[in-house]
């Protein structure tokens, strides 16, 4: 009887003891689990906020490398952005400490003025990344070229460069963002023209110089021409002149994309050699675009009257149309170089 009572007490005591130990462990472990959960959430927030910021600076880096002739615009843009709050799957992600540190310590120390921008909308996290990419390219391409390019061409260029950047930076932005921007570009009205201008095939077909140059014309020739024309027309506010400029630029880009304009790059060869390149294919095209930069612009000036004579002589065009796009643009190592592009065509 006594043993039974003793066993009962032992059993009860052990179960109470295990309960007490469980409660104590629970009390200790619960804040640890909570803290760990908070720490993981905080790290995820830091990663996602940082990814949006890195996307913006990567767009600028990409543009500085591939569109260096637009350096005057690129140098005007803020070098970086800070993302204070984002949301992902209905969860708001932010870090007060991080935002305070970036705004008030890093920003102020570097003499920056804070511009707080809040955007309201039901965007997914991927849509927010795509938004940052598109807005960065809009700032580079769209806002400055309003007077030179029609809205369709500008929008198509923005969506094309956004898609191209996302495609090349897929490890940063993710496949979902690339597909999203690809879908947008597929809806762009001037998609075909831009794809052709950025194809090596077109470059190989219409360049009068002998190979091996095989770099698409979009970055190398088209964007510098647009930038030069934009510089020329920026003080003009007359609507009819702006409309005429847009129409002429649209026509020029369309003709180049259709392979109707030949391209002649002026390099280190003799004027006779360049004239020979031209003569051998002059009847294939409606016109020729001569591209020179730096000291080679002088050679271009010598060649233009000769080419006009060629048009008048062998093709019987009395007054070929001559249009010049010239000015200084940033080149390698952020140096300014003089660019000269002369378009000579059969029809005025």
């Amino acid at each position: 009887m006594f043993d039974e009572i003793l066993n009962f007490i032992k059993q009860e005591f052990s179960s109470v003891l295990s309960l007490v130990v469980g409660v104590i462990i629970g009390l200790i472990a619960s804040p640890i689990i909570k803290t760990m959960f908070k720490a993981i959430k905080y790290l995820v927030a830091l990663k996602d906020l940082g990814r949006l910021e890195k996307t913006y600076s990567s767009v600028l880096k990409y543009a500085k490398k591939n569109l260096k002739e637009l350096g005057l615009i690129l140098n005007k843009l803020p070098e970086e952005i800070v993302v204070e709050t984002t949301y992902k799957d209905d969860v708001a992600l932010y870090s007060r400490f991080r935002a305070f540190f970036k705004k008030n310590i890093v920003g102020k120390l570097r003499g920056k003025e804070i511009l707080s921008i809040t955007i309201f909308g039901n965007m997914s996290y991927e849509e927010q990344i795509a938004f940052i990419i598109q807005k960065a390219f809009e700032a580079i391409i769209s806002s400055e070229y309003e007077k030179v390019l029609g809205v369709d061409l500008r929008d198509s260029l923005v969506t094309y460069y956004s898609y191209k950047f996302a495609f090349l930076s897929q490890s940063l932005v993710g496949k979902g963002v690339t597909l999203m921007l690809e879908r947008k570009f597929n809806e762009a009205k001037s998609k075909e023209i831009i794809l052709k201008l950025d194809s090596k095939e077109l470059e190989a077909n219409i360049t009068l110089n002998p190979p091996p140059e095989a770099r698409p014309l979009l970055d190398r020739v088209i964007m510098p021409i647009i930038e030069l024309k934009s510089q020329e027309i920026s003080p003009i506010n007359d609507l009819s002149t702006i409309e005429l400029t847009r129409r002429e630029m649209q026509q020029l880009l369309t003709k180049i994309a259709e392979g109707k304009i030949g391209i002649l790059f002026i390099g280190s060869r003799t004027p006779e050699e360049y004239l020979q390149y031209l003569k051998s294919r002059i009847d294939e095209f409606e016109g020729v675009l001569i591209c020179a930069r730096g000291k080679r612009a002088i050679l271009c000036d010598h060649l233009v009257p000769e080419i006009i004579k060629e048009y008048q002589g062998s093709l019987g065009i009395e007054t070929p149309s001559v249009k010049t796009f010239e000015g200084t643009l940033p080149s390698e190592e952020n140096r300014l170089l003089y660019y000269k592009h002369v378009l000579i065509s059969k029809r005025a």
């Binding site: 005057l72 800070v82 309201f120």
Partner: protein, 89 residues
């Protein structure tokens, strides 16, 4: 000539690079929180879209831009959303 060229580059660099855009993505349900933060009363009807000039309400607000003491609002018309820039000129 070289000095002139580098001064062009410096002038171009000096303007907007001083700005540090601090971006917050917020859900439409958070509009009141942000309006309170910036002490904005949209019921007064005095806030207009910085792009199209239309009156901005709780229902059509798209973006809020604060630079020092100046506050600009943008409405959610597609044309205004398209013109809105995160790197303002």
């Amino acid at each position: 000539m070289r000095n002139m060229k580098s001064s062009i580059m410096r002038n171009a660099q000096s303007s907007l690079q001083k700005l540090l855009p601090v971006i917050s993505f917020a859900r439409p349900s958070d509009v009141d929180k942000y309006l309170k933060l910036y002490n904005i009363d949209l019921n007064s009807g005095k806030y207009r879209c910085a792009i199209c000039g239309d009156i901005v309400t709780r229902e059509n607000i798209y973006a809020l831009i604060a630079h020092g003491s100046s506050i600009k609002l943008i409405c959610n018309k597609p044309s205004c959303q398209a013109k809105f820039s995160i790197s303002p000129p």
